[in-house]
Symmetry: C2
Amino acid sequence: MQMTSKIESFVMHCGEMGSRWGFNRTIGQMYGLMIIMPEPLSATTLSETLNISRGNVSMGIKELQSWRLVQVHHIPGDRKDYYGPAGSIWEMAQRVFEERRKREMDPTLSLLRATILDEPANEQEAYAQEKMREIHDLLETITHWAAELQTMSPEKLNTLMKLGAGVGKVLDMKAKLLSDSSRK
Amino acid sequence: MQMTSKIESFVMHCGEMGSRWGFNRTIGQMYGLMIIMPEPLSATTLSETLNISRGNVSMGIKELQSWRLVQVHHIPGDRKDYYGPAGSIWEMAQRVFEERRKREMDPTLSLLRATILDEPANEQEAYAQEKMREIHDLLETITHWAAELQTMSPEKLNTLMKLGAGVGKVLDMKAKLLSDSSRK
DNA sequence: ATAAAGTTTCAGAAATTTCTGAAACTTTAT
DNA sequence: ATAAAGTTTCAGAAATTTCTGAAACTTTAT
């Protein structure tokens, strides 16, 4: 399957950014191609279009599936698997965030929890544990927040984000309302 | 400088997570050690404590400085440089977020902007450009939002995060207030 | 000006990650 | 039961990233 130059440059860019997004070059390319093609693609098409070995495509799809980013499609009378992106662009972004949070924060959180429980053996350890507690509390706050943002619909999230710094004002407003009502 | 086992396991963990956080193993270890030691450390101490070559420490510090995560200290009468973490845990997290956003989203945003401007050459390109526009709009919204969160003080951010899903309710309340006032 | 104490750079070595392609496996149709 | 069409696995090759350590450089004190 031939790529036009615009499509090719997008796909190659996804490859270059791939490792920053949490996967590797070929996985980035595969995912980029799936996103901008209107129809799902077979593993063989991915392999030929991107000049990637068939085996590598198989491994890449497995990885993308572990991120819940691809959906398998079937065509009646055809036994091949066809792969396309799972969900809207918003949903994809949510999943990438969610997966990354899990991989980047959860292991640290559990190490910190375990370490903080122990009594400090000396002055230096007391300081270290204090710092660990600070990091722990921050990560926990972020985790809770992220979990709650996850439950919001894309539309509501979008409203919230577009509101931007306005959130600060809304908070002030809320604080004012509360103090008014407590005053009475 | 000897590390107690608790401190060592934290530092090693920072090393293992380092690459997920955007730097490499030794840089993660160096930063972890700086965070939990109450006093700034010299490059030589870092090198000896972590069993890392002096040259590698120098490169690592440069990298951490590019993230604005370390602060250089001087001791009167001593010409060595001593390195410690820059700012509070909250500020560190903000900087890591900010830098990663820059590295992960800005290049994509400019590629997309440029590609979308061109007229599509055919049906397939029209679809591809439509998808790119969707991604572009999402990244732009996130970028704006992140920029505005950056301007909030850690305390306010903390309040906002602790509020969590409550934000949804505050939004509803705001919507209600607006519709009430427009109705009158 | 010199030398001592320190830092940085960078070519090549070491370690790690990614990729290939052949073999093993699975599924489906007949 | 067999074979065709497909997928997955995995050992080793290739590519990439990280690290070392020696040489070059910089700063400071005298």
